[in-house]
């Protein structure tokens, strides 16, 4: 019964979404408080309805109810509990339901925390959210219904693809969707503002926390996905420029640009048109990503649960929403008033530079991702655009951007003094150059580019620390006052510094792995040994082992340095019983920030085993950096200023205003 109740709740959520799509808009046009107040109530209601549907599906998975087709196709009674739960979104239908759940979750959050928003903006934004919700609910109910039933019920399920039986699946998609779908709020705010015609500095401030939340989740989600692919696929790579990866990376790039341009709009009321456009573009890229991943039109190593026939439906949604949004934008953009002026050398100027590079980079990724599709449609020849393309186009665009990052926060608004800022950054530049020299010195024969790359990472780290120190008044006040000020700095200042610092850490990881990692493929017999980086591996042989739903052959390697064994690392070849599908479990040994990565291959006729060993120095910095970036986002979210806007007008404030004018 719970299954059918969930199904019913999902249908009713559609009905609620349809009401929420129409009535609040009428309310905002007619200035009717009642109709506008309907929007938050409907948003919360549809959240609970979709939640009920999601719980119903989860219960079906947990209890192995194979009368639900979706459960039968993707679950197995022998599966460990955590994978039964994560299996809910390990398939097309279930993951679309999660997508919608997160969408209505964000709507409910706006309803709940949106006390500081003007009623009309809130009503319209929630109505736009409801349009998206309704479109995707139609999609799920008509083409991808997870509540299809089977009668009689099969006795055993077909099991989840073993690759997906991993904690990665429990964390990665929800985080990624929080990011993807979170940008829908920015989109809805942009459309609402265009409908309403009121786009000002206050709007930018209200959009920023949502952008920040979505960006933080997307950053963590992409990083998680990257690490998952890294250890699960057993290929040792952490980023493949695969279409599916690009699909999540493009909204991230555009979202990062949006985060920065909203700042300019909030402070100076400049870049209004651009910011609204970016908000639309960012979510459009999220939708495009959903389409690319779901439709399987592009060949990918990661995509699961694709279905070309359903892709057409999403393409329809994509065209209607993006087309509609851009039309509305074109209609209204003229009426937006110009904002504040600024000199090219200023905080605004730096942020414009940031936007310029980020959007251009987004564009190159977009071209590289879609070019094969276009070319096949036009000429019929099939091509693949791989890492070399992106390294050649995306890479050069990032270099000037990364160099400019430390300048941004230190420049003054409106008119900055580049010379003064450069002086403040002397120390950072000095440390970076010393690092470059040290790298060249210690890694004899180190490529100059690698040394400069690592220096760039250090530059970012030192630059963000310099920014914090300057804000605290370093050099101008004594230490105690500095500490007081440091503690009193707004959270967003720490957020900015952390995000930029994390970027630097990631850059160091990326450069170090690219330049200094070593790889070797060899055949090993029991007792044989091989050298990777500074370590020696001794193969201790293969032995069988059984897990809950798989059997495996484990290969153990003793790892030693300077003749002293200090660890073992185990890689395995597994066979999952239900699908009889083989997988390779890479053995990863983390030593400080670096990793030793071992992957087993086939057995050779002469009794040896093919083994692939990577030494990946500093590799964990890549993900540690992204974690720091996400933490920066969270810290910023707690900035008190982002919640301002609820009217509690007191005489004192009015007085302060009069004084100011």
């Amino acid at each position: 019964m719970i299954v059918e109740l969930g199904h019913y709740a999902l249908v009713m959520a559609l009905a609620v979404a349809l009401i929420q799509s129409v009535l609040p808009v009428i309310g905002s046009i007619r200035q009717d408080a009642g109709l506008m107040a309907l929007a938050p109530a409907a948003a919360v209601t549809s959240f609970f309805l979709v939640l009920l549907a999601f719980i119903a599906l989860t219960v079906s998975y947990v209890t192995s109810d194979f009368s639900v087709q979706n459960v039968w196709e993707n679950s197995h009674s022998l599966k460990p509990m955590i994978y039964k739960i994560s299996g809910v979104w390990g398939n097309h239908e279930g993951s679309m339901l999660l997508w919608i759940l997160i969408l209505v979750f964000f709507s409910a959050l706006v309803a709940f925390f949106g006390g500081n928003l003007p009623a009309a903006l809130k009503a319209n934004a929630l109505a736009v959210q409801a349009w998206i919700t309704a479109a995707f609910l139609f999609f799920v109910l008509l083409t991808s219904n997870p509540f299809q039933r089977l009668n009689p019920a099969p006795i055993e399920g077909r099991d989840l693809n073993p690759i997906l039986q991993d904690v990665g699946l429990a964390i990665h998609p929800p985080l990624l969707y929080l990011g993807y779908v979170g940008f829908s709020i920015c989109f809805s705010f942009a459309i609402a503002a265009l409908i309403d015609g009121r786009i000002d500095a206050a709007w930018a401030r209200w959009v920023r926390p949502w952008t920040l939340a979505a960006w933080t989740a997307l950053t963590a989600g992409i990083a998680m996905g990257s690490y998952w692919a890294y250890y699960e696929l057993g290929w040792g790579g952490w980023w493949f420029w695969d279409p599916v990866e690009n699909a999540s990376f493009m909204p991230w790039l555009a979202g990062t640009a949006l985060l920065h341009s909203a700042l300019v709009m909030e402070k100076r009321e400049a870049l209004k048109i651009w910011t609204v456009l970016l908000a639309i573009i960012t979510f459009s890229l999220s939708l495009l990503g959903t389409f690319l991943v779901r439709s399987g039109v592009l060949t990918s190593v990661h995509a699961f649960a694709t279905d070309p026939t359903r892709g057409v439906f999403i393409l329809g949604i994509l065209v209607v929403f993006i087309g509609g949004a851009f039309s509305l934008f074109a209609l209204r953009a003229q009426s937006l008033k110009q904002g504040g002026l600024f000199a090219p050398i200023s905080r605004e100027g730096a942020l414009v530079l940031n936007n310029l590079f980020l959007t251009t980079a987004t564009l190159t990724v977009l071209v590289g991702t879609l070019y094969p599709l276009v070319l096949e449609a036009v000429t019929g020849s099939k091509i693949s655009v791989g890492p070399p393309f992106f390294n050649l186009t995306f890479g050069p665009l990032m270099v000037p951007l990364l160099l400019a990052v430390p300048f941004g926060p230190l420049l003054a608004w409106k008119r900055g003094d580049l010379l003064a800022v450069s002086q403040r950054l002397y120390a950072a530049a000095g440390v970076s150059l010393l690092t470059a020299l040290a790298v060249v010195y210690f890694a004899t024969g180190a490529p100059v580019l690698a040394a400069l790359g690592i220096a760039m990472g250090v530059w970012l780290i030192c630059g963000s620390l310099t920014d914090l120190a300057y804000r605290a008044g370093a050099g101008r006040v004594d230490l105690q006052v500095m500490w007081q000020r440091f503690k009193g700095l707004p959270r967003s200042a720490f957020g900015t510094a952390l995000a930029h610092l994390g970027l630097g850490v990631s850059v160091i990881g990326i450069v170090a792995v690219t330049a200094f990692s070593t790889e070797l493929v060899t055949t090993m017999k029991q007792g044989g040994q091989t050298v990777s980086g500074p370590y020696t591996l001794v193969f201790e042989g293969l032995r069988p082992n059984t897990g809950p739903n798989y059997t495996e052959l484990q290969g153990r390697f003793a790892v030693s340095r300077d003749g002293e064994q200090f660890a073992t690392v185990t890689s395995a070849k597994r066979i999952y019983t239900a699908r009889r599908m083989p997988t390779t479990e890479a053995g990863i040994l983390t030593i400080g920030p670096s990793q030793l990565y071992v992957s087993l291959g086939d057995e050779t006729p002469d009794g040896g085993t093919v083994v692939r060993v990577w030494w990946k120095p500093w590799v964990t910095f890549i993900w540690i950096g992204t974690i720091i970036m996400s933490v920066g986002g969270i810290v910023s979210l707690f900035d008190r200023r982002l919640r301002v806007g609820a009217p509690a007008a007191s005489r004192k404030r009015a007085a302060a205003a009069e004084q100011a004018i």
Binding site: I155, R268, P548
Partner: protein, 378 residues
Amino acid sequence: MMFWVLAAVLTVAATISLLVPLARTVSRQDNATEHDAEVYYDQLREIDRDIEAGLIAGEEAEYARAEVGRRLLKATNANAKSRPGSSLSSAARYVVIVFLPVMAVIGYLAIGKPGMPAQPLAARIQAPANDETDIRTLIAQAESHLASNPGDGWGWDVLAPIYLNLGRAGDAETAYRNAIRLLGSSASRQAGLGRALFAESGGIVTAEAQAAFQAAEDLEPGNPLSSFFLALGLAQEGNYAGAKAAFEKLAANSPPDAPWMPQVQAHLKGINANLAAAGEAAPGPDEEDVAAAMEMSPEDRMAMIGGMVDGLDARLRDNPDDLDGWLRLVRSYMVLGEPEKAGDALDRALLNFEDGSAGRLALTKAAEQFGLTPQRVE
């Protein structure tokens, strides 16, 4: 019934939650400009803090304050107050009351299965077995036991032959392998594994199956099961002389009334026929033919296979006692997608084997497997 009660409760709850904001008399009228003003006040305070921290100097600070001040002035001048709930609200109320339940119920009825209960696996397993003692339920019980105790070798050992008899060859293979791993090798387990592999490959003694039977033979020399399949494997390889010797040895070592004797005799008959025919035509395609087939276009390949099947058909008209040949012919026709010809071949084959003979049994089994019904059953 219970479902509709709960659905009704859900509907009412959702409807009420939408009606509340429409019914509420709005106590404070929302003024959009107040929200804006609040943001600008905060920006002014922020400038003050920056001045205090020495982050911006006097003149710049004045400009900044003036700019925010202008925004503030503009925001407070515009004045748009919303009206409290009006006639619109009451119209909206009707929309909600009518539209929500109607749409939900109609939409759900169109795609849902209202009467269908949830069927969690645990509940289905615990339910008492019905009069037919559903073997599938028993197996599911055993499987769930083994899920929590995968180290129970005896459990696997019991389950394996059941799987094999049910035709779940893949599961049987897994179960036998687990039993062998946990309890050690034994002739019956190895032979069972061999039979599972034999069944999985559609009636061919593959190298893997042969290895399993060989292991059983090594553990218990002369085990009739493994001897039989090893001999069959030789026959399938085309080593008729070896197969003949192996079958003859098995026959010599078995009591004459052993249940497998008819099968052995039938195979021997077929092998003798093949040996007699060996001089003239090779019984199966040789490697060159297969290699040639790989390079052909699909049509040509079909033609070649068709030719070989016709040859087999013709040969069987001369040697109607060749049970293996008949089985191969029936299967070939089925694979070629010609069930009528397969049925016809089956009928012709049945003519050559008496009622109750092993050959007849094998043929009827094959017929069942392919879903064929013999036309001329006397």
